[in-house]
Symmetry: C2
Subunit: 159 residues, 2 copies
């Protein structure tokens, strides 16, 4: 699997894209969000080969997205649970669900519905400005070098 | 490039993961959000080979994420612009930026800052419930079969 390492690029989007790796990593985190814990839960939910799944689970543990805890000794079996860092990937998946509901659902409607238990409603997630709370649009957002940006990149208007 | 096709899975997250393809597709959409238009803009921004870039741009045009418009005849040159569908990927990238700022920045701070022009503030994006506006957490969100779900999948608590 030859990929370009973008984990050190001066861009939080590129770094996150690197962490999420290929599609399987993202789908494994999705399974974990849906309640998968055991190796066989992930395998059944994804229809993925054992070796491929093992490699991806190991990678996600190394990256601190999942934690591995033994729940049985003979034979040794582990649970995989989302860490705080892993749980923070959920808003990205929620934003993907909103996109998919709008653009990738057939005339029959979306295959899944998200339900927000605190307010008791079915809903579509929205990604908003953390300051004013308005929905974010690419044409209304600028990307600027942050405090951790080494070079003298100038302001960039999006789109 | 052998990938499992999840574009028809009964899950809007899996379908979106399929559309975003591998890391390059996502990074190309990011470049387009940052203002890239011409082939050479994308190439310079990503350091990607010509053939690989061509294949990815063609794929994103086929999927309706980018549109291709000629801007020069001899030799023929094209602009690649985000479609409405492509622009709607931006909230996913914004959610990735928020994650990256929190978890993938060094002690020096995030390499980029997002600025919301309508409210005039630097901000961190938040993914919220489209109904009540509260930030979404995996433990407070349930996934249920939607109207377009064929099978009799039952409600699933997240995490």
């Amino acid at each position: 699997m030859s990929r370009t390492d973008t984990s050190e690029w001066p861009c939080t989007i590129a770094r996150t894209a690197d962490l999420l790796g290929d599609e399987w990593d993202l789908l494994i985190v999705r399974q974990a969000c849906l309640g998968a814990r055991r190796f066989e839960d992930f395998r059944a939910g994804l229809g993925i080969g054992r070796n491929v799944l093992t490699n991806h689970l190991n990678r996600l543990v190394e990256l601190g997205v999942l934690s591995r805890q033994p729940y049985q000794e003979r034979p040794l079996r582990h649970h995989y649970r989302l860490t705080d860092k892993g749980r923070d990937i959920f808003p990205i998946l929620a934003a993907m669900a909103a996109f998919g509901e709008k653009w990738l659902s057939g005339p029959e409607g979306a295959p899944i519905t998200l339900h927000h238990t605190p307010c008791g409603r079915d809903m579509r997630p929205e990604t908003v400005c953390g300051h004013c709370g308005e929905a974010l649009h690419v044409r209304e957002t600028r990307v600027r070098p942050g405090p951790g940006h080494a070079s003298s990149m100038s302001d960039t208007d999006t789109e």
